[in-house]
C-alpha cells in the first residue's frame, strides 16, 4: 500500500513536468531536449530563493514561473523561430530542434555549474512525517504532490475552458486549420513553448522540496518526460497524466521490491512494452 502511495505522490510531479514537454511538443512541435535542464534550473532557483529568504518554496513559484516563462519565450524567439522559418517539413524541424535543444541543454548545464557549482544540493523543508492510512510519509512529498496536482488541474481547466486554451489546443490538432480561424500560429507556438517551460520549471521547484539534485540531473528528467509524453500519446494531455502516474508507480515498485538501481531500466522496459502493444500511445490515435 505504501508503495502505491509513494508511487502516486511521485507521479503527480511527473505529470506536471510531462505537461510542460507536452505543451512544447504537442502545440509548438518542438521536441525540447533541454526540458530537464529547465526543470533543474527551477529546482536551483527554489533552492536559492529558500536559502536566501527562508520563505516557503511554494512562494518561490511566484518568481520562478514568470522568469521561466520569459526565458523560454526568449529561447523560442531567438533560437527556435529561425529553425521554424527555414524548415521545409515537419520532419526537418523536428531534427533541427532536437539538435538545437540538445546543444542548449549543455549550455544550461554549464551555466548552472558556473552559478551553483557541481555539488549535490538539498534543503530541509517540512521534513516531518504525515500519516496516511496509518503509514508515515514525508510531508514535503505530500506538499509537492498537492502543489503539482493544483497546477495540473489549473492548466487543464485553462486549456479546456478558456478561449486562449482552446486556441492552443487547436494549434496542436491542426496548425493549418488554426490559421484559417485567424489564430496567429507562430505566436501561439511561442506562447505554448514559454508556458511549457514555465510549467516544467514549476515542476522542478516542487521536486526540489524533497529531492536532492545537482546540475547534471536534467537529462534524467528529460528522458522521463519524453517517455511519459510518448507513452501517453503525443496529442492528448490526459494520456500524459495517466502515463505519469504509471511511471511513478512502476519506478517505486521496482525501487522498493527489486533494486533501486533499476528504476530507469524499469521505466524503459515499460516504455518499450507500451510502444510494442500500442505504438500511438495510451490515448493516441493512429493517424489515418
Amino acid at each position: 500500500m505504501d508503495i502505491i502511495i509513494i508511487g502516486l505522490l511521485l507521479g503527480g510531479t511527473y505529470a506536471l513536468m510531462a505537461m510542460g514537454l507536452q505543451l512544447q511538443y504537442g502545440v509548438a512541435r518542438i521536441m525540447n531536449l533541454a526540458n530537464g535542464e529547465m526543470l533543474v534550473a527551477g529546482a536551483f532557483g527554489t533552492f536559492w530563493f529558500y536559502s536566501a529568504t527562508k520563505f516557503s518554496p511554494l512562494i518561490s513559484l511566484a518568481v520562478i514561473v514568470p522568469l521561466a516563462f520569459a526565458a523560454n519565450w526568449a529561447i523560442y524567439r531567438v533560437l527556435i523561430t529561425p529553425l521554424v522559418r527555414r524548415a521545409k517539413s515537419q520532419g526537418q524541424l523536428e531534427v533541427d530542434s532536437i539538435l538545437a535543444t540538445f546543444g542548449l541543454s549543455f549550455i544550461f548545464v554549464g551555466g548552472l555549474l558556473a552559478l551553483f557549482g557541481g555539488d549535490y544540493l538539498s534543503y530541509s523543508y517540512l521534513a516531518r512525517p504525515i500519516f496516511i492510512l496509518g503509514q508515515p510519509y514525508g510531508l514535503n512529498r505530500v506538499t509537492a504532490f498537492i502543489g503539482a496536482l493544483a497546477l495540473c488541474a489549473g492548466l487543464y481547466i485553462w486549456l479546456h475552458k478558456t478561449r486562449a486554451g482552446l486556441a492552443l489546443r487547436a494549434v496542436a490538432v491542426s496548425p493549418s486549420a488554426a490559421g484559417l480561424v485567424s489564430i496567429n500560429v507562430p505566436r501561439a507556438s511561442a506562447l505554448a513553448f514559454a508556458l511549457g517551460g514555465a510549467v516544467t520549471a514549476a515542476g522542478g521547484s516542487l521536486l526540489s522540496i524533497f529531492l536532492t539534485f545537482d546540475a547534471s540531473l536534467g537529462v534524467v528528467f528529460t528522458l522521463k518526460a519524453l517517455v511519459i509524453v510518448i507513452m501517453g500519446g503525443v496529442s492528448d494531455i490526459r494520456g500524459a497524466i495517466v502515463a505519469a502516474f504509471i511511471l511513478g508507480l512502476a519506478e517505486t515498485i521496482v525501487a522498493s521490491l527489486v533494486d533501486p538501481g533499476l528504476t530507469l531500466a524499469a521505466a524503459y522496459v515499460l516504455f518499450i512494452v507500451i510502444l510494442l502493444i500500442k505504438p500511438e500511445g495510451l490515448f493516441g490515435r493512429r493517424s489515418s
Partner: protein, 235 residues
C-alpha cells in the same frame, strides 16, 4: 468586395497560376470551373495567405491584403474552407464552431452567428459534443461550413465542397450555400462539378492550365458549347 489582380503562383520554375484576375461582391455566388490540376486550389490558397510565393494584388474592401499571413486575411473578412475541410477532427462540433469565432471581428457576433449556423444545420445542434472525426463526410462538410460562417466572413471561399459527397448531399449542401448567400455573403466556389454549381451561381470563370480562359454569367456558361463539352459531359 474582393478583387484579385494578376495573381501568379510558381512552384520552383513550374507555373501553377498565371495572371489570374477576378472579383466577387457580397451577395453573389461566383464559381470557378476547371479540371484537376488547372490551378484552382493553388489560386484559393494564394488569396487565403497560405502560399507565400504569390505575386499580384489582393484587395478587400479597398484595403490591400496581398502577402498577409492567413490569420490576417480572416480578419479582413475572407473565410476559406479548403479541400481537406480545414476542421479540427480531434475536437467536438461545439469546439470547432467556437474556434470559428476566434477572429476579433467575429467575437461580438458569436452568439448570433452560432444561432444562425445551428439554424442552417440542425444536425449540428443535435450533437454539440460529438468528435468531428467520428462524423460522416456530409456532416463534416457542415462543420466546415459552420466553422467558416462563425468567423463572420464577407466572402466565403470553398474548395471543391462537393468532393466525396453523394449527389443528394451535394444538392443539400448547395441549397445551404444559397441560403448563406441570401444573408449577404459573397461565395466563391471552386468546383469540378459544373452542372450543380452553375445552377446556383450568378457568374463563372473558366480556368485552364493556370489561366482564365473564359468569364460570363452562369446562365450563359451553361449554354456555351465549349463549356458543355468540357465540363458538363455533353457530347
Amino acid at each position: 468586395m474582393l478583387e484579385c489582380k494578376n495573381i501568379a503562383v510558381f512552384y520552383g520554375r513550374h507555373r501553377a497560376v498565371e495572371d489570374v484576375s477576378m472579383q466577387i461582391a457580397p451577395g453573389e455566388i461566383v464559381v470557378m470551373l476547371g479540371s484537376n490540376g488547372a490551378g484552382k486550389s493553388t489560386f484559393l490558397r494564394a488569396i487565403a495567405g497560405q502560399k507565400a510565393k504569390a505575386s499580384g494584388t489582393v484587395v478587400m474592401d479597398g484595403a490591400d491584403i496581398s502577402h498577409r499571413p492567413s490569420h490576417e486575411i480572416v480578419e479582413a473578412g475572407i473565410a476559406l474552407v479548403p479541400e481537406d475541410r480545414g476542421i479540427f477532427a480531434d475536437m467536438t462540433v461545439q469546439e470547432n464552431l467556437i474556434l470559428g469565432a476566434h477572429p476579433r471581428r467575429a467575437r461580438a457576433l458569436e452568439a448570433d452567428n452560432m444561432a444562425r449556423v445551428l439554424g442552417l444545420f440542425p444536425r449540428l445542434a443535435e450533437r454539440p459534443k460529438q468528435l468531428v472525426r467520428t462524423m460522416s463526410g456530409g456532416e463534416r462538410q457542415m462543420v466546415a461550413l459552420g466553422r467558416a460562417m462563425m468567423s463572420a466572413p464577407s466572402i466565403l471561399m470553398l474548395d471543391e465542397p462537393s468532393l466525396g459527397l453523394s449527389p443528394l448531399l451535394t444538392s443539400e449542401l448547395f441549397r445551404s450555400l444559397v441560403k448563406i448567400k441570401d444573408t449577404g455573403v459573397g461565395i466563391f466556389l471552386v468546383e469540378q462539378n459544373a452542372k450543380q454549381s452553375l445552377a446556383i451561381a450568378d457568374r463563372g470563370y473558366l480556368l485552364d492550365n493556370g489561366r482564365i480562359v473564359g468569364a460570363d454569367s452562369a446562365a450563359a456558361l451553361s449554354r456555351d458549347e465549349k463549356v458543355r463539352h468540357a465540363y458538363l459531359g455533353a457530347g
